[in-house]
Symmetry: C2
Subunit: 340 residues, 2 copies
């Protein structure tokens, strides 16, 4: 079991069996899709992957053509298995599109763009669920089938949760994928809700992983669309609130803009400030530490005024090494904060 | 509207609006998969396709990986659209197997061998059914999307019917596809039933097509596995019994053997005689005319003793021309029989 010597610090928990100085540290990451996958891609180089648990948003899950698709789980698995397409950011590298092209020619709904190899993932998951396996079990199978022994990838819940988006223009409520993929998130949003979350139970292992974690990292995913659905599962939200001093969130915004996706726009549309400080205020009751980009240094004082400890660093993940460094900075900051 | 001048004969129905001598004749074919598709491939060259209705077995329909698969409908559509693979006899020509190969590598059930382009058909059908369309409507859409204007392809029913097979060895009952594809029909069968058939209604248009038909052709498909499920829909079975003088069945056996598939073996296993005469006895109450191969000439008297008029011809469809000729012989025989 390797551990990273850069992560240091005493364990402040009474009777804690983990010591930042001598034991491998245990990390939980709350993850959406692409932004999270990019961070995790580096984190597994910085921290013993067997000590990492990833709790993944399933609010984007959908049934497409009869198949159960878990876009964020797949993005995390494909990325960590080094099988993802680096340019697109989603899906498998070397993918072909025979079925999807044919579906379009048959007059079908081909907007989701399922690749032929990706389809096999959804077939497999659908069969496992139809055979009575849980989404957690299906995820274990799929991660392993993709050659991924660690980290452990967990759906936030095995219960159905659906992120639903109300379009500002029409007032229509649509599913997440229709908003995000079909409409290319190019429309204003007036409301987002997480249908089913209020009665959803955390997936097996989620609460234990959180309680045993030395650091809980909220990945730089979309706060509203990717992280909020996880926190909307009541037992997860309250566990993270209780563990606030171990929680560090990484801003997905730099100079008020998302590097990818509609996080800045959707924050504004829902009445939040589209800035790192705005994101810190959303997470203030959940994360004692907040990592923001050096370019947002002027916002550090505002973060501090929220009762959150700001940590400035370079958050733009140009490569795995940058992502590894960002991961370590975030984890170090938890250790440092708890030692303070 | 073209009509085939080779099909002659007066219309014996009182007040009948169709005259075999001057009007296009109307044909209904009862079809299973490959054997039926081969006959129909020729029939559409011999008879105006717009006057042909095909009632297709759906007892083989199954849900695979969440998608609704209608193997016999697809075989008929692909064949008539000239898109089927001539060597395999099923599926599309020029097919690729990316998803299926990947599914196998993920540890999935890849035995059904879905091609990538074929998958698009099942996605499309699944989406149409999920949107509340009937299987009939989905079939119209898919036939049209494959460029097939005629003949009209109809499922036998829009209700779920499942051909279930009891294996002689274990006594286990399995679905049709598990028997036929997974086990490669290489096991003995002790019973076959058509679950759901007793309460199934004919698909819209089926009974009208039968009543208006000048000739009803039972294709040389497997009597037990492909034709019996159609006849097991009560209103179809009784309509065909009433119309017996217009019904002609074509033997799928020559010298006691099926040209393809397990028809001979399964007949024997279920206690029938595996011969053209055995098949004629199964159809005796439904078909007044029975076409058998010249090689089975010695069986003609036995067929006649069943109260069925035997017609000897070459039933082996080496090409579309042979299939066209066989179709005409069968249709002519109905006209001749009714004139007699």
């Amino acid at each position: 079991m390797t551990r990273n010597p850069r992560v240091q610090g005493p364990d402040p928990r009474p009777g804690g069996e983990v010591n930042f100085g001598t034991s491998p540290i245990r990390i939980v990451a709350l993850a959406g899709g692409v932004g999270a996958a990019r961070l995790l891609h580096g984190m597994v180089e910085a921290v013993d992957p067997s000590q990492i648990s990833v709790i993944v948003n399933t609010g984007d899950d959908t049934v497409l053509h009869g198949m159960h698709v878990s876009p964020d789980i797949d993005t995390v698995v494909y990325t960590l298995a080094a099988l993802s397409d680096p340019d697109r950011g989603w899906g498998l590298s070397g993918e072909t599109w025979t079925a999807n092209d044919r579906l379009r020619s048959l007059g079908g709904n081909a907007w989701f763009q399922l690749g032929d190899r990706d389809i096999a993932t959804h077939m497999m998951r659908t069969d496992l669920l139809a055979a009575g396996r849980t989404l957690s079990e299906a995820t274990v199978h799929l991660a392993s089938a993709h050659g991924l022994g660690a980290p452990r990838i967990m759906p936030m819940t095995d219960d159905p949760v659906q992120t639903r988006v109300t379009l500002a223009g029409s007032g229509d409520e649509v599913g997440f994928q229709e908003y995000f993929v079909k409409l290319a998130h190019d429309v204003a949003v007036s409301q987002v809700r997480y249908a089913g979350a209020e009665t959803a139970a955390p997936a097996p292992g989620v609460l234990d992983a959180l309680r045993l974690a030395d650091a809980i990292v909220i990945c730089p995913s979309n706060p509203i669309l990717s992280i909020a659905p996880i926190l909307a599962v009541p037992a997860i939200g309250s566990a993270i609130q209780e563990l606030r001093d171990r929680v560090v969130a990484i801003s997905p915004l730099v100079r008020g803009r998302a590097l990818k996706g509609p996080a800045d726009r959707i924050l504004r549309e829902l009445g939040f400030e589209a800035s790192a400080a705005g994101v810190a205020s959303i997470y203030r009751d959940l994360a004692a530490t907040f990592v923001l980009d050096n370019q947002d240094a002027p916002l550090a004082d505002r973060v501090r005024e929220l009762g959150v400890r700001p940590v400035l660093t370079d958050t733009i993940m140009t490569d795995a090494a940058a992502a590894a460094k960002l991961s370590l900075t975030a984890i170090d900051a938890v250790a440092a904060g708890r030692a303070a």
